[in-house]
């Protein structure tokens, strides 16, 4: 009897809890869990959504198709190149910027604001501004010509277009990670530096043997966020190439390819969903590898 009462009270309490949570649960179901399930469903079907919606079960066909799709390989290769260059460069740049800003130079606050500004601009606007500067008669080529160097066709030349996007992205995201590094730098005990000074360490030695190792957990965070961010590159290459991934597929990224298959050609929505899952898998593996190598917990 008492047992039953207890369970009734418990059930009511739980019920109340769920009622309170229901708005959140509904939103989660509708906008996060639902779409994920739907995407899984799509990935195993050949889908024609327009007109009379038509779903045809094809099993793993969409996934095996990726293996012999030249465009998918190209997109993956471009994205890989992009990740492998952008992530280390932006991480090192962020670290160096943060370290110099933390060294107590004059006008430190001013530089902090200046450095952080690019991050505040929306990436779409930023891309448009950069395209203007990358223009054949734009700022970059004018700058190069001062030193007597030849200008580039930054936007139209397949061998350079991706590099142009890399430069743009490094410039705009490094400051964001710099701020994270700055916060972490405040946490390093001053006593470590003093002890090193007593031992006769110079500025570079202090940076290399105290700052960098102490920042390892933050570096790990920055690299993982960088990996995810760069693997998902879309807006910059989309605007840069007008949605085509050109010139000559040189700015075609995986996400841009997903967009093209989902919306540009008919009846490939399921294939697009399959590529999206493949990308999620790649990001997961990259993150796991990163964690394995960084051993972030070992410091403490």
């Amino acid at each position: 009897m008492s047992n039953r009462n207890f369970s009734k009270a418990k059930a009511r309490e739980a019920g109340q809890g769920y009622v309170f949570m229901s708005p959140t649960l509904l939103v989660l179901l509708l906008f996060i869990i639902g779409p994920i399930l739907y995407a899984i469903f799509l990935a195993f079907h050949k889908v024609q959504l327009l007109g009379a919606a038509d779903f045809q079960y094809v099993g793993f066909d969409n996934f095996t198709k990726i293996m012999n799709d030249e465009k998918a390989k190209m997109a993956l290769w471009n994205t890989f190149k992009y990740v492998i260059i952008v992530v280390p460069v932006q991480t090192i740049l962020a670290l160096v910027l943060a370290a110099t800003l933390n060294a107590g130079i004059k006008g430190q606050k001013f530089f902090r604001i200046i450095y952080f500004l690019p991050t505040l601009t929306s990436s779409a606007v930023l891309t448009l501004i950069f395209m203007w500067m990358y223009n054949q008669n734009g700022l970059f080529n004018k700058f190069l010509s001062i030193f007597g160097l030849p200008g580039y066709n930054w936007i139209g030349d397949p061998s350079i277009a991706l590099n142009a996007i890399m430069m743009m992205n490094i410039w705009s995201t490094a400051p964001f990670y710099m701020v994270i590094y700055l916060a972490a730098l405040q946490d390093i005990p001053e006593s470590l530096y003093e002890a090193a000074e007593l031992d006769g360490a110079n500025v570079f030695q202090k940076f290399l043997f105290i700052t960098v190792p102490n920042l390892r957990p933050v570096t790990s965070f920055v690299v993982i966020m960088g990996l995810i961010g760069t693997f998902q590159l879309f807006d910059q290459s989309y605007i840069f190439s007008g949605g085509s991934g050109g010139p000559n597929n040189s700015t075609l990224t995986v996400v841009l390819l997903i967009y093209q298959y989902a919306f540009k050609s008919m009846g490939t929505m399921g294939y697009a969903a399959a590529i999206a899952f493949a990308l999620a898998l790649v990001i997961l593996i990259a993150t796991l590898i990163q964690r394995k190598f960084s051993k972030e917990e070992s410091l403490y």
Partner: protein, 416 residues
């Protein structure tokens, strides 16, 4: 099997719920409560503020002559086809909307576009339309759209540059190549401002008898196609007499022409108001595109009004379409010269054929190739453009580039 059905059911309910939540725009209720006035939506892109203003004026005329219909005009500023397709999938498509000839076969094949045959009456006079234009919107004997206007390509030439170089307006492709070479100075000024994309090169590609696409598959690696496109690649790489807009810092050939960086460009009707507004000082003329092997050729681009098959206000929608593309409506629409009239009778009355600038554009209509093929044209042209540009820039020989593009395009078509 069961799981699949369940998943499908779940996703469908999610979709329905989504549309139910977002779909409370209330226009259905409005018509119900009013009872008399039917509100229909018309979606299109806005080319320029002047053009939109003109359309609004015409719609006002329509509303005053059809007091029971109200038209709600919507402008989709960017990624028009993506937006339209998404809205059609969600059941929220407009009643009447613009459809480009090149996208038409794909959309028609899905059954989302209403065939208009039952609405077209004798007095609408469908035969009055230019044959190739209306044909682009017909499939298996049914008419799905009525072209609101069109534009062909003509050769725009810079009068001053030609005069200074003592060059006559070229008539044939050989003369054109020679003239372009003479007009290039190798330092930012080129004879020919080229758009290296299939939409502009389709007629040239087929000039020597090859076909870009056969039976809805890419066939542009054909030696005949390669031969007919080779001169353009050579003009850029060998003779240095052609360049694409990006190489000179322009965004399109019309801008390149206006800035005086190209003596010749192949442009359409839309460039005329642009040049007048942006480069009023520019002295230019137009001529028909140079002949290849004694044959004339040009491209034609056309857009039509189509009706959403899911529309609940089909009668009113047809009233609107027939008004806008009728003799009276088209005369008003084309009066400012944003587009050329697709009706022969209106074209005769408009006097564009005698116009010094627009004459060559009109002259091209009978022999123009309409930019449309079959459902796979988007895939074909995407792959063509992708590889052709690298050949144009000198990274690989043309035949190799087109072969690679053709293989990839056909693979994508098979994968569909």
């Amino acid at each position: 099997m069961k799981i699949r059905k369940m998943l499908a059911g779940m996703s469908m309910t999610a979709l329905l719920l989504g549309t139910a939540l977002t779909g409370c725009s209330g226009d259905k209720e409005k018509t119900a409560s009013n009872g008399e006035k039917t509100e229909i939506t018309l979606a299109g892109w806005g080319s320029s503020p002047e053009e939109t203003k003109l359309l609004d004026e015409i719609l006002k005329d329509f509303e005053s002559s059809h007091p029971n219909i109200k038209v709600k005009r919507e402008t989709i500023a960017d990624q028009y086809m993506d937006v339209i397709k998404t809205r059609l999938i969600g059941g929220e498509g407009p009643d009447v909307f613009y459809l480009d000839a090149f996208e038409a076969p794909g959309l028609i094949s899905t059954g989302t576009v209403q065939p208009l045959d039952e609405y077209i009456k004798e007095d609408f006079d469908l035969k009055d339309f230019e044959e190739p234009l209306i044909k682009a919107f017909q499939k298996e004997g049914k008419t799905y759209g009525v072209p609101k206007g069109y534009s062909t390509l003509a050769m725009f030439y810079n009068k001053k540059m030609l005069e200074e170089a003592g060059v006559e307006v070229p008539k044939t492709w050989e003369e054109f190549q020679a003239a372009s070479k003479k007009l290039s100075n190798g330092k930012g000024v080129y004879g020919f401002g080229a758009s290296p994309e299939l939409a502009r090169l389709y007629h040239i590609a087929q000039a020597k008898g090859g076909k870009v696409a056969t039976d809805n598959k890419a066939t542009f690696a054909d030696q005949k196609v390669v031969d007919s496109l080779q001169p353009i690649v050579d003009m850029h790489n060998v003779e240095k007499s052609a360049a694409e807009p990006k190489e000179t810092g322009a965004t399109w050939t019309g801008e390149m022409f206006g800035q005086g960086k190209a003596a010749f460009v192949f442009e359409g009707n839309w460039a005329i108001p642009y040049l007048k507004a942006t480069f009023p000082e520019l002295e230019y003329g137009t001529a028909e595109l140079p002949e290849i092997d004694g044959k004339k050729g040009t491209m034609a681009y056309t857009v039509s009004y189509v009706m959403n098959a899911a529309s609940e206000k089909k009668e009113a929608s047809w009233e609107l379409i027939s008004y806008l593309t009728g003799k009276e409506g088209m005369e008003k629409w084309t009066s400012k010269g944003f587009e050329l009239p697709s009706r022969k009778s209106v074209a005769e009355k408009s006097g564009f054929a005698e116009d010094e600038i627009r004459g060559p554009l009109v002259a091209g209509a009978p022999y123009a190739t309409v930019w449309a093929d079959d459902t796979n044209l988007p895939i074909i042209f995407n792959n063509f453009n992708n590889q052709f540009i690298s050949s144009f820039l000198g990274d690989q020989p043309l035949d190799k580039a087109l072969k690679a593009a053709e293989t990839q395009a056909n693979k994508e078509i098979e994968n569909q």
